[in-house]
């Protein structure tokens, strides 16, 4: 089975996000970039299939700027077999989905696993849009994939239990979580990944329509600074408890 994972490079979850002076973007200078966490789960899920069946081929692709090569390299170090880059700056989500549809048509995977959303803009758009463009079955927010004769069983967590869906191949699923935490790259994996070629082409070369409706950011603001705490001092325990209960109800409105 061949599994393709379109991934996105996003600011690392440890980055302290700062709004840029233009008020409509965040400062990206000097920050650490990583594979979006849900995409990492998708990679782990695919690599678990590969652990179970070594004939599985796991490929990753990204539509993004030159720096996203590092994310592809990281995926190779984790154990993915192939990686390719479609170079684009700020492509609209629909253009990304169209580019990926082209990549999927060439690579002919049996299964496409997308993170359920990217952790930077949280749109959750590309996965379902890609399935729609391909005309493939789409199952959202899965937690497990089990191969079944010419098809896959896709597990989803639902309130109080789980559902098992079955989709004929080829199919696309978006991943909520893998069974295990994403693996750390091994040192031999890092060395191997360094030697692998990551083919690259510009978005224009794919001949897809890049015009797409998109949104415009009007303004970005950090959350308001938190006010100082309040210390209740005077009175005995009972009086303080009463004032605390009143404050929680009337001021904090949490009771």
């Amino acid at each position: 089975m061949k599994i393709l994972i379109p991934l996105k490079q996003v600011p690392d979850s440890t980055v302290r996000v700062k709004v840029a002076p233009d008020g409509t973007s965040v400062v990206t200078e000097g920050i650490t970039w990583s594979i979006s966490p849900y995409d990492e789960y998708a990679i782990e899920m695919a690599l678990e299939r590969k652990d179970a069946d070594p004939s599985t081929v796991v490929a990753v692709v990204t539509v993004g700027p030159e720096r996203s090569r590092d994310a592809l390299r990281q995926a190779l170090a984790m154990g993915c077999d192939e990686a390719s880059l479609v170079r684009a700056e700020g492509a609209a989500p629909l253009a990304v989905a169209r580019a990926l549809a082209k990549v999927v048509a060439e690579a002919k995977p049996d299964l496409v696993l997308c993170g359920k959303q990217a952790s930077d803009d949280d749109q959750g758009f590309v996965g379902p849009a890609l399935a729609e463009l391909l005309g493939w079955p789409h199952v959202a927010t899965i937690t497990k994939v089990v191969p079944a004769e010419g098809a896959v069983e896709l597990w989803r967590e639902v309130e109080g239990g789980h559902e098992v869906w079955k989709a004929p191949l080829p199919a696309l699923a978006t991943v909520h979580k893998s069974e295990k935490e994403p693996r750390y790259p091994s040192l031999p994996g890092i060395m191997k990944a360094k030697k692998k070629d990551i083919p690259e082409r510009p978005l224009d070369a794919l001949g897809v329509d890049v015009a797409a409706p998109t949104w415009t950011v009007v303004s970005m603001e950090p959350p308001p600074a938190r006010g100082g705490g309040k210390i209740l001092r005077d009175g005995d325990a009972k009086q303080i408890a009463e004032r605390l209960a009143t404050a929680l109800r009337d001021e904090a409105k949490v009771l």
Partner: protein, 382 residues
Amino acid sequence: MNPFIGETERDLASAVAEWSGTLIPRIPAAEKEGTLPRDVIAELGRLGVLGMTIPEADGGLGASAVAFALVLEELSAAWPSLAVGVAVNSGIVAGSVVRNGSAEQRRRWLPKLMDGNGLGAFALTEPTSGSDAASLRTTARVTEGGWRIDGSKQFITNARYAPFAIVLARVGELDPERTSAGITAFVVPLDTPGVSIGRPERKLGLRASDTSALVLEDARVAHDAVLGEVGKGFAIAMSGLDGGRIGIAAQSVGIARRSLELARAYAKERRQFGRPIADFEGLRFSIAKAESDLAAARLLALRAAWLRDRGRPFTREAAMAKLFASEMAQRATHAAVQIFGGNGYMRDYAVERYARDGRATTIYEGTSEIQRIVIARSLLAA
């Protein structure tokens, strides 16, 4: 930027740094219990850390001494007890087998040092021979099927986790004029009848690292258990220690670095007299001095590793790095505890543990005094 570090070496070290950071919540319990969790050793195997010094032809990664020093620095920054286990397994033990083992010995023993099922041990020290290692009393005698080994070894790192130990024993009588003569290195599986492991030592620091005695009573090993040549074991031990000293220098750097990182963060946060204590000059000077010494120690350690990678002599440089870095770590951890004040004396803060763990670095793999002897001997040779 650092002239001794290549891009690959930096990438390997940062991968290990990222992984070892996830261990931090588990450290207090493991230190209290006095064991390295088996799954952590297994993961070190899966990650290829245990085999990183072993050549590719033998199934390892064949990474440079610089890369290994950086990895030990990162492991030590996270968890010194774990780093010691790896330093012994992948530095001294693996290095001794790689440099001195026959093709058959390498094929047989090296996989056991990288599969994550255990950590190898190196048994040189005895109750009556520490710095004077050549005076060891363990004996090996030829028997019908091979060798019979008898003796007591002390302070053996990884003894309880080891699939085998390299045991240094004397073949023939002790010659008081040439004490190192006759010393031979043997590969001894620890499930050999007659081999027993003593109770774990209770140490000031490095409590999750195993340090135990090893007793050999009529322990029988085959002829092919001899590593290198009969009578050449002391040279094997000494060359193992040369490399090991780079490892301890790197470990000292890791311990000092993390202690000072913690101290800096605390100094900026902790307020006294209405301002962060980082504003006070006494403390600022302490940090400035400690960080400068740390940078120097790191360069010394990497220089020794870099020379080794180029096949150049590095005995003196390794001894200098070990001497300076381990002494530096004492001052750095002392300064860190001081900056934390009362909190630094409490077990709830990691600097307390780093101060205890770091204390061993001026002692094992040759005390500071022995390093001075090694350095002076090389400088003042006739």
